[in-house]
């Protein structure tokens, strides 16, 4: 499974990277939105994890760009990972095109369940377990 994590804070990247390793997955990292979008162009991923507050382009705008694509990658599942607790944030993210919202501090099993669920739903029956 190929996972991309777009997040500006190095500590957070490290935490999620180690978590995914526990799950047997090696993830790719992008320190901000622009390089993340570039990686989506150049590489293949099964799912994207996205932070919200980043310098330059923020997470929701980046998701908008992904959804605006004209190829199959426009349907990539996206999980927002954030510490933001504003009311209605979940609705805002879903409206912007995200599929799920995980609130920091992240519970490892929640992350895995969310990844498993979204990858299965989007992959349809072509997903190979």
């Amino acid at each position: 499974m190929q996972v991309l994590f777009v997040e500006d804070d190095a500590m957070n990247r490290r935490v999620v990277r180690d978590m995914l390793r526990v799950g047997g997955v090696e993830m790719t990292e992008a320190p901000e939105a622009l390089s993340g979008l570039q990686m989506i162009d150049d590489m293949t991923f099964d799912i994207i994890l996205m932070d919200l507050r980043m310098p330059g382009m923020d997470g929701l705008t980046a998701i908008g760009h992904i959804r605006a694509r004209t190829d199959a990658k426009a349907n990539l599942p996206v999980i927002v990972v954030t510490a933001d607790t504003a009311p209605n944030l979940r609705e805002e993210c879903l409206a912007a095109g995200a599929d799920e919202l995980l609130l920091k501090p992240v519970a490892m099993q929640d992350l895995f369940d969310a990844i498993g669920r979204l990858v299965t739903e989007r992959g349809g029956d072509t997903l190979l377990i």
Binding site: L20, K104, V106, D113, D125, L128
Partner: protein
């Protein structure tokens, strides 16, 4: 500055006098306590000895609440006397003792507020501003509850002064204005208020405004015939006038101050007036005069010359000597000034930081004040509008009668204009108050949002890493214990932040209740199971009794879980030994069915007087409880608000030393149980519909994927960490199909032979064993097949996996399977 605060204290004390007779209980000592209070304004030493006698007499009475109050009142008077006699150290223990005696009285009495004011004054004079602020705020709250507007105003002014000490004159001004609004009718209070505002404005370099306020204060000081106050005000007025450049006016004010300082009782203030003269001379570009004045001031000050009081004078001296060209002298004074300035700034900065938290709390309070005011003003506006309309009606009918009407016309025009003016004024005030309210709420929301966000991010690092470490099974023993401890502490922090955030949302009215179909028995079981560990640790017996519990109800499960968890947490926390019993039942009332959950513990119990108190925010039984049992005191407040938002409530019954029972009552709707929808519509997968599936050995991501794929197809999907657990479940007859992910097994010590052991352990049981094996071809898997393992080769698609599993399930017979030819691989 200190003197002005003293004046405030005197005013506050004096405010007690007319009320003394009604406030003090009818005990034989009553006349003497009033004498003591009256003596305070004349000679504190007399007041001290009188109050001591009162206290003696009061102690001879039989113990009762009245006696406690009488003793505490006498102690308070003694403490106030000592403060005036500059004996703060002697006063402090008296105040503490008095607060201990009457601090918990409900409903609160004014004495509690007065004691807090005294304590705050002591804290403030010893430089402990945050503690002082805390006490001032608490005093303010008490005065609000007992409707003592004058004391409220005093507390507000004191708060303002704390902020001035922290260098935050803006905020200080705000509180001074609020104080003025709260009680404008007392001339002494008005005097100190005008002075405070003037000083704050001066700090903000708003010299013209400061001048105006000093003049207002001057009028009051003259009216009240207080020459010492007049002296100080003239001095400060002169400084303000130097600031606005009105040097002639400054000279005049200074002359008045000089004259007043010639009186013997004001002699101590003279050096400061000389200091002001130095500043005026500098403004006039007369360095020689300036140095002369400065030196006289510093000489007259004696040892005080190098303290904060004379910081300005040191600066004036430096500037004067610099202008004169006397380098060494200038340097000398500059060094002293710099030291004083640095000290002052450092103190202000640290005070300011620790005040920010209190600031948030007061924004909260203020928001509520503003809301109340807004409500009041709206009522005023409505009333005034009504009057205006009435006046209009009268006006109209009188116009018909021409001759008499002319006279009446004039009269009514005037009252109409007055009503209109009042409406306009009220509208203006409402706009201001609304702006304040919005600002207060915005500040609070921003503070909470930022804090929550800032704390969650590093917490993600802590909890993320502990989860990762604990997921590594090679971490064992003492190391695992320690990491588990860190995780527990991190979880506690997270719960705390969630609590605070909930509280904020509740406060802002942003709470959402989502009632959905919920498996109630399962929810109750899970919550109780969660707390079982902690209960056992403390040696308590935790039981759940839920006969006739409806299977499915329409309720906000998350919130119900939150309430129950909170009650269980409290029950376990406050019970040293014995049991915690949870009882669940349905009650049929006039307005439908109610779910009733009772949490009964055999703990320390709660006194009836505190029944309402414990549900208040930030409250625990008493300060001692808060220290012994950690917690924000928010839990019950949140739980009750949640319960009420859901249409129900929480009640408490208790006996001290025996135990407490908290009862949650919520209106709920039963829902008829529905079979889980199978949206695959696949006849083969339907075959799995009744199966209880157990997954073992899968790495977490595969777990997540398989959970997503299979949960819609099966009756029950569960995950266990090892084969021992599989065998347990199999014996317990709670599983039909066992799915093993072999990829993960390669990391296990036993590998494939463990699988055969598993087969052997379950051979007599009606379970089907299935293994997911990568690229399963060839004979290597023959032993597994012989042991009746179904082998499914990876990779496989979701639907194919489901159909293969369905086949296996169909093959399970309820009768015991007898297997033959089990081949054991060495």
């Amino acid at each position: 500055m200190r003197g002005l605060r003293r004046l405030l204290v005197i005013v506050g004390f004096a405010s007690l006098l007319p009320l003394a007779a009604s406030a003090a209980p009818a005990v034989p000592s009553a006349p003497t306590i009033d004498e003591a209070k009256a003596a305070m304004l004349v000679d504190p030493a007399i007041a001290l000895s009188l109050a001591a006698k009162v206290e003696q007499a009061a102690r001879h009475q039989p113990p009762s609440e009245a006696r406690r109050i009488a003793v505490a009142t006498a102690q308070w008077v003694r403490a106030e006397a000592m403060i005036r006699l500059n004996n703060a150290d002697g006063a402090a223990p008296l105040v503490s003792s008095a607060l201990l005696a009457v601090g918990n009285l409900q409903p609160p009495i004014k004495l509690q507020g007065d004691l807090l004011l005294s304590r705050a004054g002591i804290s403030s004079s010893t430089g402990n501003s945050p503690k002082a602020l805390q006490d001032y705020l608490a005093a303010y709250r008490i005065f609000s509850r007992v409707h003592e507007a004058r004391s409220e105003a005093i507390a507000l002014q004191d708060i303002g002064s704390i902020y001035r000490d922290a260098g935050n004159s803006d905020r200080a001004l705000y509180y001074y204005r609020l104080a003025e609004e709260t009680f404008p009718n007392d001339p002494k209070l008005a005097l100190s208020n005008a002075n405070n505002q003037a000083n704050a404005l001066y700090e903000l370099d708003r010299y013209a405004d400061a001048e105006r306020e000093f003049k207002r204060a001057l009028v009051l000081a003259t009216k009240l015939d207080l020459p010492r106050q007049q002296l100080k005000i003239f001095n400060n007025l002169a400084l303000a006038q130097i600031g606005t450049g009105e040097l002639a006016a400054a000279e005049a004010s200074l002359a008045r101050a000089m004259k007043l300082s010639e009186r013997p009782e004001s002699a101590g203030y003279r050096p400061l007036v000389l200091g002001t003269a130095a500043e005026l001379a500098l403004a006039r570009k007369q360095p020689r005069a300036a140095t002369n004045f400065a030196e006289s001031a510093l000489t007259g000050a004696g040892p005080d010359a190098v303290t904060q009081l004379y910081r300005r004078v040191q600066w004036s001296a430096y500037q004067a000597y610099k202008l004169e060209g006397d380098g060494p002298a200038a340097l000398r004074h500059l060094e002293i000034f710099k030291r004083l300035d640095d000290e002052g700034r450092a103190l202000a900065a640290s005070t300011n930081a620790s005040l920010m938290a209190a600031q948030f709390d007061f924004a909260n309070q203020n928001g509520r004040i503003a809301m109340l005011k807004a409500g009041q003003l709206q009522r005023d506006i409505a009333l005034n509008r009504l009057q205006a309309r009435q006046n209009l009606l009268i006006l109209g009918s009188l116009l018909l009668v021409v001759s008499v009407g002319l006279v009446a016309l004039a009269v009514n025009l005037r009252s109409l204009r007055r009503s209109r003016d009042r409406v306009r004024a009220a509208n203006n005030r409402l706009t201001v108050v609304n702006a304040e309210l919005t600002e207060a709420l915005l500040a609070k929301s921003q503070f909470l949002a930022t804090t929550s966000h800032e704390i969650r991010t590093p917490l993600n690092g802590v909890l993320g890493m502990t989860q990762i470490l604990l997921a590594d099974r090679s971490v064992t023993g003492m190391v695992r214990e320690r990491i588990t401890l860190v995780q527990g502490a991190g979880e506690a922090m997270r719960a705390l932040i969630d609590d605070i955030l909930d509280f904020a949302k509740l406060d802002a009215g942003k709470l959402e209740i989502h009632a959905i179909e919920t498996d109630l028995p399962r929810l109750l079981d899970e919550v109780v199971a969660f707390w079982q560990g902690r209960a056992t640790e403390q040696g308590l017996v935790l039981t759940l009794d839920r006969p006739d519990c409806p299977e499915r109800v329409l309720v906000d499960g998350r919130r119900l879980q939150q309430i129950l968890s909170n009650l269980l947490s409290n029950a376990i926390k406050f019970t040293a030994e014995g049991s915690v019993k949870v009882q669940v039942g349905m009650h049929h009332g006039g307005d439908g069915e109610h779910l009733k959950i009772m949490v009964a513990d055999s703990g320390m119990g709660i006194p009836p007087a505190a029944f309402e108190l414990i549900f208040e925010k930030f409250r625990q039984l008493d300060a001692g409880t808060t220290r012994r049992f950690s917690g924000t005191g928010l839990g019950l407040a949140i739980s009750q608000t949640l319960a009420r938002a859901m249409g129900g409530d929480i009640g408490v019954a208790s006996e001290v030393g025996v135990g407490s029972t908290f009862t949650v009552s919520l209106p709920v709707q039963r829902v008829s149980p529905v079979m889980p929808a199978n949206d695959r519509g696949n006849p083969v997968a339907d075959g799995l519909a009744g199966a209880r599936l157990l997954l073992v050995g899968a790495n977490p991501i595969v777990q997540g994927v398989l959970r997503a794929v299979l949960t819609p197809c099966v009756a029950n999907f569960a995950v266990v960490p090892d084969f021992a657990a599989v065998v347990d479940r199999a014996h317990g007859q709670s599983v039909d199909v066992v799915l093993v992910d072999a990829t993960a097994l390669h990391a296990e010590p036993g590998g494939a032979s463990d699988l055969l052991e598993l087969a052997a352990a379950t051979q007599h049981l009606p379970v089907r064993l299935v293994v997911l094996w990568p690229n399963a071809i060839g004979d290597e898997l023959a032993p597994l097949r012989a042991a009746d393992f179904q082998v499914i080769s990876k990779p496989v698609t979701g639907s194919e996996l489901a159909s293969r599993l369905a086949e296996c399930f169909a093959a399970v017979e309820p009768a015991v399977l007898v297997k033959s030819n089990v081949v054991t691989v060495p």
